[in-house]
């Protein structure tokens, strides 16, 4: 049998799925070029010499008899300097290059655009010396990729040996910067770029238990439902509840060092907003433009559906690559439901037996595999550095009903659930994350961290706040039935303080530059100030003849809404002062 045959023949075309014969040597997930237009595709099923190919571009005009060219490579991401500040489609083609090459506003077909710029030169500074014994993950040298990120050029996984030659200087991504001679005498040429198959997790020396929270600057998330650096969170919500706004807020303000944002089957204008806004917005943690640490991947809803399926893998592979350098990386996927729908569409065309609601039977396992790529790891390399990859996936359940398969498959593998609530959105309470149904399984992990970094009583206050909000829900039921008059003063105080928690702590305006980001220190200040009113007022109001209106007229109560506007150097001092004033005013009521 001739093993050199690299060309197959198309026998069937149905939408993004093409079947070709003469492919008996092809590999699963091998990259192919379809028809004379060289449309990019990937083999997803092999049956005898017939290969099923999902095509990443529109297949209009493709006909049986056209050729399919095999490349011998699997679908891989290009990893190296130049990833940051890029804006890619789902298969890592720079959208800007596509526009320039096609000279069109629209996505043209058959355009070859490599993920990394072949012309651009980078200043490589070697860290390893000739003769060093190195293995996968060891840092050979560095490139200052952006003002924020030092790009560590690593020995690719599974390569080891003695450094033969290495030189500093100015190189393109393809130039050879080092040679590694392995024990069997083989020479590996190392350039600034390496490739990695997108569907295979990058290896590490093992996972660690996540202990540090990802600080997001969003009060409800950091204080009530924190996610770990290296954790996985899900945000399900019906349309209009603010999934994308929350995801974008996270991308802007969270304290990860590198952000990968995947717009998977979502709106074009939203991605345009990110591209226009990010270079202008300043990262509160570093003072540099946000784009310097960001990689955007946009495969909007009307772009080819197979490339949408690939986009989440492209994104997570890039994210893992920066994790391997020892960075803390956060990946936002908006929305994983569109990814699942792309799987469903391809599965349907492959005529696979459908599972629940037409989704393929492997939906849950693919989802789990994806979220399991999150984590804190000991990276490859002798220095045993750690890197973290946090994954936040938006879910768009049909009709807002969480019993559907994608939501359920996601909730089973994520430890944090930020439940968006349409009725809160209707009342214009944002972020419309429901504090009664949401949860984070990480809160217990962070007790020590908060106690050391912020304050001893942080966890205590958090529990109290949650408790008050739970009580409020019950009391409101009663009020709805029999009116406010039926409540005791203590219960009225619970309602009053819960209202403050909702309106002046949980409510946060993502579009107000002053309010969009709140440091943990400040979150603690506001929370403690509000709860001081409860703790000091509790005894005062419990006496029988107390007139509740008195409490409402206190200046500290009226000033609660100003708490979040405190700014300047001595935040702690300002909150201290407010709390003292509150204690004084409240105890004044007792007489």
């Amino acid at each position: 049998m001739d093993t050199n045959v690299q060309i197959g023949t198309i026998v069937r075309v149905t939408g993004p799925l093409v079947k070709a014969s003469g492919m008996h040597n092809a590999k699963m997930y091998e990259l192919v070029k379809v028809s004379s237009e060289k449309l990019l595709g990937e083999i997803v099923e092999l049956n005898g010499d017939i290969a099923s190919i999902q095509v990443y571009e529109d297949t209009a005009g493709v006909r049986p008899g056209d050729i399919v060219e095999r490349t011998g490579e699997t679908m891989s991401a290009e990893l190296g300097p130049g990833l940051l500040e890029s804006f890619y489609d789902g298969v890592q083609r720079p959208l800007k290059v596509i526009q320039e090459k096609s000279d069109s506003y629209f996505i043209a077909r058959g355009i070859e655009a490599p993920g990394l710029d072949r012309e651009r030169k980078w200043d490589f500074v070697s860290r390893a010396k000739e003769g060093d014994v190195v293995s996968g993950g060891d840092v050979l040298g560095v490139v200052q990729e952006t003002t924020l990120i030092e790009h560590r050029v690593m020995v690719p996984p599974y390569v080891s040996g003695r450094v033969g030659k290495i030189s500093s200087g100015s190189f393109t991504v393809l130039d050879i910067v080092a040679e590694i001679v392995s024990e069997d005498g083989q020479t590996h040429k190392i350039s600034l770029m390496q490739r990695w198959p997108i569907r295979r997790p990058r290896p590490s020396q093992g996972k660690q238990f996540p202990k540090t929270p990802l600080v997001t600057g969003m009060r409800i998330l950091d204080t009530l439902f924190p996610v770990a650096k290296g954790g996985a969170a899900a945000i399900p919500g019906a349309f209009g509840t603010g999934k994308s706004v929350t995801q974008q807020s996270l991308a802007k303000y969270c304290d990860a060092q590198v952000i990968v944002y995947i717009g998977c089957g979502e709106r074009g204008n939203e991605m345009t907003e990110a591209v226009t806004e990010f270079p202008e917005l300043i990262d509160p943690n570093s003072g540099e433009p946000l784009m310097k640490r960001t990689i955007l991947i946009a495969n909007t809803s009307n772009m080819p559906v197979a490339a949408r399926e690939a986009s989440v893998y492209t994104g997570i592979t890039i994210a893992e690559y920066y994790r391997d350098m020892g960075y803390s990386v956060a990946l936002m996927a908006d929305s994983t439901s569109r990814w699942a729908e792309a799987m469903r569409e391809m599965s349907g065309r492959l005529e696979e037996m459908p599972g629940e609601e037409g989704y393929p039977a492997y939906l849950a396992s693919r989802t789990a595999e994806f979220y399991e790529r999150a984590g804190v790891v000991t990276c490859l390399g002798a220095d045993k550095r750690s890197g973290a990859l946090t994954v936040v996936g938006a879910v768009s359940p049909a009709g807002g009903d969480l019993s559907e398969p994608v939501s359920q498959a996601t909730l089973r593998v994520t430890k944090v659930f930020w439940g968006l609530d349409a009725s809160l959105a209707y009342k214009k309470h944002f972020p419309s994350i429901n504090w009664l149904t949401s949860y984070s399984l990480y809160t217990d992990n962070f007790g020590e961290y908060w106690a050391n970094k912020i304050a001893e009583d942080f966890s205590l206050l958090r529990t109290l706040a949650m408790d008050l909000l739970q009580q409020e829900a019950k009391l409101l039921e009663i009020v709805r039935l029999v009116g406010q008059e039926a409540l005791s003063n203590s219960e009225k105080l619970v309602l009053e303080v819960s209202r403050m928690l909702r309106e002046d702590f949980l409510f946060q305006n993502a579009f107000d530059p002053g309010d969009a980001y709140t440091s943990p220190q400040k979150q603690y200040g506001i929370l403690k100030s509000i709860l001081t009113i409860y703790l000091s007022g509790k005894d005062v109001v419990s006496s029988e003849d107390f007139d509740f209106l008195q409490l409402r007229s206190l200046s500290c109560v009226k000033d609660v809404s100003t708490l979040k506007t405190f700014s300047g150097d001595d935040l702690d001092g300002q909150y201290d002062e407010y709390q003292k004033r509150a204690v004084k005013e409240l105890s004044g009521l007792a007489h």
């Binding site: 529109d58 493709v62 946009a298 559906v305 609601e357």
Partner: protein
């Protein structure tokens, strides 16, 4: 061009032709039925080495397996475009039905279009004035946005649609409206409704700047799959090649989705929710995403798709998937309609995601604040009204009562607007201030003091 007489089977909108060769996916097919002059059109959905499945855009009634000929044209379905299309009325297939002269096209364009490169987009930041207060002030329509109207059976969305089509303008500084155009496509509307729209455009003179495609309930169902794409291809031509600001109105999208379901059913595909195909989200996005604003391009496309929610259910697949793609929604409220408020726009449930980029920035300085205040006060008034039902008005204080009076007046004077009344944005904002004057000034927390000073009518 190849012609075959080997039609093997016909089932619903699908025709299977055997023994074909060299047929391309998605190409246009002309099916010639014996005894008919004009061919019926379809496109290739699935093609194997010797067999092609053709989806028809026209009914298959009267076609036979014998003697019917299928001609594969080697091209996609195209529409001829030129600026002469303005002022003309076509049927759902794109043939003129207004007895006007034939169109001499400048060129022919593939109706399926291509996705806009997200890099080429520019973020929309200017508005379209509809002349309807509840839209312009509360949920501003932005040029390049796609903002659907969610309505229900028996609600007056058509009147609103006609009012928008008549009144919409880009409100340019110079007052010149020649850069503005409307493309209207009806999808499966009953004759009376389609005729009402046509008449309303004709009478007001708005037809001159409009291109109208009419597919009525009597027209073939499958034709509806092509009609919105023709309309959008014309819109893209006018916007991105001729620099016009184009407002595209498509309705009723529920009928479109039902046509999609019919084709899917005929192909025996695994159905998704309520029998609609699993790829409906992707399919709808190839319509809705054909809106926007491009870098270095004068014109824009703004879309208002209209759909009726079966049983007023927002979670039905059609409104649900639409809402996930579009940038907000206008909701028509049955409750307000029953109260006699028209157009009954549910301002609280409606949302324009892009409004923030224009309110107070491209419009009058007080716009964003007045809007926030009206929202807040109206919500308070509605809450108080509910409370009054439970506990009786006597248990409410003066401020609550003022809010109830305000929210009643807001519905009666602000949301309610006669269909012949065209309010400029400034008039609408002033009206908002006039109503806010009903409330104690201490209740106006969302507007800054200097705005109150400048705009609040003195008592």
């Amino acid at each position: 061009m190849k012609e075959y007489k080997t039609v093997q089977s016909i089932s619903g909108p699908l025709v299977v032709v055997e023994g074909v060769s060299g047929v391309a996916y998605d190409e246009l097919v002309e099916v010639l039925v014996p005894g008919e002059k004009a061919p019926r059109l379809g496109k290739v959905l699935d093609v194997s080495s010797d067999r092609a499945v053709v989806q028809m855009f026209e009914p298959t009634s009267g076609t036979q397996t014998a003697d019917t000929r299928a001609r594969f044209t080697g091209q996609a379905l195209k529409i001829g475009v030129s600026t002469d299309l303005l002022g003309r009325i076509f049927n759902g297939k794109g043939d003129p039905i207004d007895n006007g002269p034939a169109i001499i096209p400048e060129k022919h364009l593939d109706i399926s279009g291509a996705p806009i490169n997200p890099w080429s987009r520019q973020y929309p930041n200017d508005f379209i004035q509809t002349g309807v207060s509840s839209l312009d002030v509360m949920n501003t329509l932005v040029r390049g946005q796609k903002l659907p109207i969610f309505s229900g059976a028996g609600l007056p969305h058509l009147k609103l649609m006609a009012q928008i089509a008549r009144q919409a303008k880009v409100a340019s500084q110079s007052g010149d409206e020649s850069g503005f155009a409307i493309v209207l496509a009806t999808l499966g509307l009953p004759f009376e409704e389609a005729e009402y729209l046509r008449h309303s455009l004709e009478e007001s003179g708005a037809l001159e700047r409009a291109v109208v495609f009419l597919n009525t309930a009597a027209d073939p169902v499958v034709e509806r799959i092509a009609t919105p794409r023709m309309a959008l291809t014309v819109a893209e031509y006018l916007a991105f090649e001729k620099g016009k600001h184009v407002l595209v109105i498509l309705g009723d999208m529920t009928n479109y989705c039902e046509a999609l379901r019919e084709v899917s059913g005929a192909r025996k595909e695994v159905p998704g929710r309520r029998g609609f195909p699993g790829y409906m989200y992707t399919d709808l996005s190839t319509i809705y995403e054909r809106a926007g604003r491009l870098k270095g391009c004068e014109g824009t496309i703004t879309q208002i798709p209209i759909l009726t929610m079966p049983d007023d259910d927002k979670t039905h697949p059609v409104p649900d998937l639409t809402g996930y793609i579009t940038e907000g929604q206008f909701i028509i409220s049955r409750e307000l309609f029953k109260k006699g408020v028209t157009p009954p726009v549910d301002v609280q449930g409606s949302l324009s995601r892009l409004a923030g980029s224009v309110q107070g920035k491209r419009t009058r300085e007080d716009h964003a604040q007045v809007k926030d205040q009206l929202f807040a006060s109206y919500a308070l008034g509605r809450d108080a009204r509910e409370l009054a039902v439970v506990l009786g008005e006597s248990s409410l204080d003066e401020v609550d009562l003022a809010h109830i009076a305000f929210s009643d007046a807001f519905e009666r004077e602000f949301i309610s607007q006669d269909e012949s009344v065209d309010r400029s944005l400034e008039e609408s904002l002033d009206l908002g201030w006039k109503l806010l004057a009903m409330l104690p000034q201490s209740a106006l927390k969302r507007v800054k003091a200097e705005m109150i000073e400048k705009y609040l009518p003195k008592k």
